[in-house]
């Protein structure tokens, strides 16, 4: 197991380096000049020069990359061109709502997706299965931002049950906190669970075709015992891999969700930085989110190998 973990961690390092290279080169693939783009249409040559110096674009490229890696790794030395604040500070200010949303949405997605997938596979080709499949198909097709818009209109504008904008910190007002994250979490939960339903159903259906399930049925075990004692144990293993997809969905979902519900989180920061073409912020956030994604996938691989020793071979 230790050998496997070391192997996986070592394999992740070149990927992270590549991610860094791609992120770094963003400024350089910008058509024309990144400094010009950021300065906007009304800037004089002096402004452009200042921004170029700020971005370090006037130095040789190798030195630029090393400096960029150093700045990104420490987080505090990358400054927004517009607000002048460091990325580290911006993220720390905005991490609370984002963490609340992703954790809440993730829990909700698992609570909806996995049981629904299990029941769909267990009662396959029944009305329950159809309903689950329709839910999953719609969840994959309906754009998250539009579903968010509908939720917002129904529950915040029409019935006024939940607030339409903003985030209340858990430390200020617990009731307000739950009201402010209810709709965004519901949105993330619904969109996230669609993939979970599909994957869970598919992996369990495969298990139900195994010989030992037939044996269990043949020896007269009840359906309930077959499901809980035999099928779920084996079927739970592939579901772990789905959690990687879920995290990817949450990372991108949070950008859209925070925009729809006007929540001042990291996702909103991504959207704003992209709209303003604030390259240092875009780069740092891209690097941050991609690194989280790489690490989560690494953990998923390791967890998978832990519960299923065959993978390690």
């Amino acid at each position: 197991m230790t050998g496997y973990i070391i192997k996986r961690v070592l394999a992740a390092i070149p990927i992270l380096i590549f991610v860094g290279l791609v992120t770094f080169s963003l400024v350089h693939i910008a058509p024309g000049d990144a400094a010009n783009i950021m300065a906007g249409d009304y800037a004089g040559p002096d402004d452009v020069k200042k921004i170029r110096a700020e971005l370090g674009l006037d130095k040789p490229i190798g030195q630029q990359f090393l400096e960029w890696v150093k700045r990104t790794a420490t987080g505090d030395l990358c400054h927004s061109i517009f607000s002048g604040q460091s990325v580290g500070k911006l993220v720390r200010q905005r991490i609370n709502p984002t963490l609340s949303l992703t954790i809440g949405g993730g829990i909700l997605a698992v609570l909806i997706g996995i049981p629904l997938g299990v029941v769909a596979a267990w009662k396959s080709n029944t009305i329950v299965d159809r309903v689950a499949q329709v839910f999953a198909a719609l969840g994959l097709a309906v754009p998250g931002f539009w579903l968010g818009f509908i939720l917002l209109w129904a529950f915040a504008v029409n019935w006024r049950i939940f607030p339409a904008i903003g985030f209340v910190s858990m430390f200020d007002d617990v009731g307000g906190f739950f009201r402010s994250i209810a709709l965004p979490c519901l949105l993330l939960g619904i969109t996230g669970s669609a993939v979970l339903v599909r994957m869970t159903r598919a992996s369990l259906l495969e298990v139900f075709r195994e010989d030992y399930i037939r044996t269990a049925r043949a020896k007269g075990l009840g359906e309930r015992a077959v499901l809980f004692r035999h099928a779920l144990r084996a079927g739970a293993i592939p579901i772990i891999t789905v959690l990687g997809f879920l995290v990817a969905g949450l990372l991108t979902g949070v950008v859209v969700t925070e925009t729809v519900f006007t929540i001042p989180g990291v996702g909103r920061l991504v959207a704003e930085a992209v709209q303003q073409r604030d390259f240092p912020i875009v780069q740092s956030l891209l690097m941050l989110l991609a690194s989280i994604y790489v690490v989560v996938n690494l953990l998923v691989d390791i967890a998978y190998a832990y519960v299923d020793p065959r993978v390690r071979l």
């Binding site: 992120t23 963003l26 950008v255 073409r277």
Partner: protein, 295 residues
């Protein structure tokens, strides 16, 4: 005893399996047909948009702004008094154009790279490392960053979605090629002296068609979603061209006074993406029964 049980099980199961197979076949054909019908319908709308829009989608009418759906304005009007129905109808052109271009480019580029990489060890090592790196990014985030860099235009949106989606296609094709190259008929072709490029074009590439088509229809749908999400966030299709995503993005601000501004495009979006996914599912079941449980 054991034999008897087995025989009973076998007898009990055989018709059920056959019935299920037939049901599956009919159902996969009907999902495919339903999906294809919707795609064709939306395509027709996109092509004849100027004939059925009833009004110019850019016409401003300040007196009529934010008026609810009526006989004159079927989907109502937006904050500038523009007809939402006309804008929605014209929006289909953007979504379908992006989807068609992305599906086509990703297929051509993905199959080419996939076949080459499946046959050449050195290329495989280099290219796959790069693609693994690209796949390490969450797709929408990478697309956002790339569009921010290149600037918002329809062509850039298409290019960016292609960059984000191609690695997945290459993986599918490469996997197929790695198993195909060991098949006897490929050996046979090599044995009679067929040159390698001809083997690739005549024997290997055609046999990757089934999974490629399935994958292409998935990308057709996901490209529509990605374009609309980028446009919703204000960095995709420029605001002066109506697209489903940017109409919803602009309409969001008027949720208090007129939800219809951003309502109907979502239904069109969901239906079109659902249709693409149905086509994909249907194709998977129709073209290659072995792929059924693969996803």
């Amino acid at each position: 005893m054991a034999v008897e049980v087995a025989a009973r099980l076998g007898r009990a199961e055989a018709p059920a399996v056959r019935r299920q197979g037939l049901w599956r076949f009919l159902r996969s054909r009907s999902t495919f047909a339903a999906g294809a019908t919707i795609i064709v319908a939306v395509s027709v709308i996109a092509v004849i948009a100027p004939l059925i829009d009833r009004q110019d989608p850019q016409d401003l009418s300040p007196i009529d702004r934010v008026s609810p759906p009526s006989a004159e304005h079927w989907f109502g009007t937006d904050h500038l008094g523009r007809d939402v129905y006309a804008r929605t109808v014209h929006g289909s052109r953007i979504s379908l154009r992006v989807a068609a271009f992305v599906a086509f480019i990703v297929t051509v580029v993905g199959v080419t790279i996939g076949v080459v990489v499946g046959y050449n060890r050195i290329a495989d090592n280099v290219v796959m490392r790069v693609l693994d790196g690209l796949m390490a990014f969450p797709t929408l985030i990478l697309a956002l960053a790339l569009v921010a860099t290149l600037g918002s235009s329809l062509n850039n949106v298409i290019a960016v979605i292609c960059v984000v989606d191609t690695p997945g296609m290459v993986r599918v094709v490469r996997g197929m090629v790695l198993s195909l190259r060991e098949r006897p008929y490929v050996d046979a072709a090599r044995a009679i002296g067929t040159p390698l490029p001809l083997i690739l074009i005549r024997e290997v590439a055609p046999n990757t068609i089934a999974p490629v088509l399935v994958q292409a229809s998935v990308y057709f749908g996901s490209a529509i979603l990605t374009e609309s999400a980028l446009s919703f966030l204000g960095v995709g299709t420029p605001p002066y061209i109506p697209s489903w995503g940017n109409i919803i993005g602009q309409g969001r601000a008027y949720i208090q006074v007129g939800f219809w501004i951003a309502f109907f495009q979502g239904i069109f979006l969901a239906l079109t993406v659902l249709a693409a996914n149905l086509v994909g599912d249907g194709l998977r079941d129709l073209l290659d029964p072995r792929l059924r449980s693969a996803r």
